[in-house]
Symmetry: D2
Subunit: 139 residues, 4 copies
Amino acid sequence: MINNQYSIFETELNVRPDDIDMFNHVHNSKYLDYVLAARYEQMDKFYGMSWQSFTEQGFGWVVAKVTISFKRPLKLGDELIVRTGILEMNEKGSHVQFEIVNKKTGKVASDGVFEYVMIDLQTQRSCKVTEEMISAYSI
Amino acid sequence: MINNQYSIFETELNVRPDDIDMFNHVHNSKYLDYVLAARYEQMDKFYGMSWQSFTEQGFGWVVAKVTISFKRPLKLGDELIVRTGILEMNEKGSHVQFEIVNKKTGKVASDGVFEYVMIDLQTQRSCKVTEEMISAYSI
Amino acid sequence: MINNQYSIFETELNVRPDDIDMFNHVHNSKYLDYVLAARYEQMDKFYGMSWQSFTEQGFGWVVAKVTISFKRPLKLGDELIVRTGILEMNEKGSHVQFEIVNKKTGKVASDGVFEYVMIDLQTQRSCKVTEEMISAYSI
Amino acid sequence: MINNQYSIFETELNVRPDDIDMFNHVHNSKYLDYVLAARYEQMDKFYGMSWQSFTEQGFGWVVAKVTISFKRPLKLGDELIVRTGILEMNEKGSHVQFEIVNKKTGKVASDGVFEYVMIDLQTQRSCKVTEEMISAYSI
């Protein structure tokens, strides 16, 4: 992962049998769900400003762009470490880098970047990230 | 399917590649999604009281119980006919029978019954189905 | 759950954000995936005859019938306990009861029964469960 | 989409209710599944060398990299057009551009590029695309 001034956090996940596809690998689109699950946990556990607290304030985070490389297949029974870290965070949104590592081999299964924007849950339109939010996530 | 006084309607669906599981069959839980997709279409097309119109009135239909038999596997490339028909409809909810037929072979892949209750989207609690709704669905 | 001579085992799972549906509940079909994930873990951990060991011998377990009641919704952030136990196991297959409990409230979110048959992965047809397998699972 | 020498093909899809997420939008990872569904259909219908024919020869196509932009949300009831076209095709694999268009509005909901490699289903390793395959897809 790219080394910069922001912290990198880890979440552990297990492959769920329903994630497996016709090739007996984790289906490609499920990797996006793993990154979401990791960010969801990390927002609460490490940043102290949870997904739920955004929801209660009337905000949600949606994905504007994903770049993802699939390097090695994940299989039934595999345990994963999902590492994520902010690359950029400003009033327009955030860029989050990630890598999904196979716990047994230590090798990178997938990596990439998610670009998020914040939306107002009422209007469903993107809106400005506040200074307080940027500050909470600038660790 | 059980023959009774209510109409039976059909929806055509294609297996989506992401529905395929480690056995190269449609994954068992996706059958429930096929029934939902069929009911969603049929509510609009045949009953004239769409899912959307319930949403606009502040109501939603949720599943209280499912009984489903898996008789023959569905595979990548298969085209399906999903037949559904009401068995019972009253102020407490509705019982809907279904069968999923493989279009090529004409054989039943799966059948069973969904029991639905209506919820108030605000309170998220079950509520009474109105006479007007029962009437619209009693065809 | 029904009390009988077979052991009941527990698996802990977290709701994944991609499991959430338009009602902001865990989508109904995902409950089947939670039961599968629990059985997958328990086959290895408690019965000592893992899913993987069946695969290596050329066998797989597929669902023939499911009866499932949805009693209370599960939501984003919920942690679950999935309890399962064999009701019947013979050469034709097994019947497995389950309940999914919300860890925070201790209340049952869903319960029911899965009926499994064993298939030969080559022929994709159901086949007899051996005495050795029945014995391993009769605990 | 980028204009180049390769053909662009269209597939029509409907949003399935189980694709909807907590924001009442199509969940982001499902867009990847829509592109896969479109390519699957187009391989058979337009290129005359179907997914199935690759499988029968012992080959499969897996995704090596995805770049995807989410421009406008898709919702329950939406009908889509998925346009895809090859950007590059050689012995190492293919690059396929796509755009997902909301049929009602004609506006682009999402676009991007999938990079595919071909694998040998036995070894699960990437392998060379043959001249015959490249030729079939160079339309």
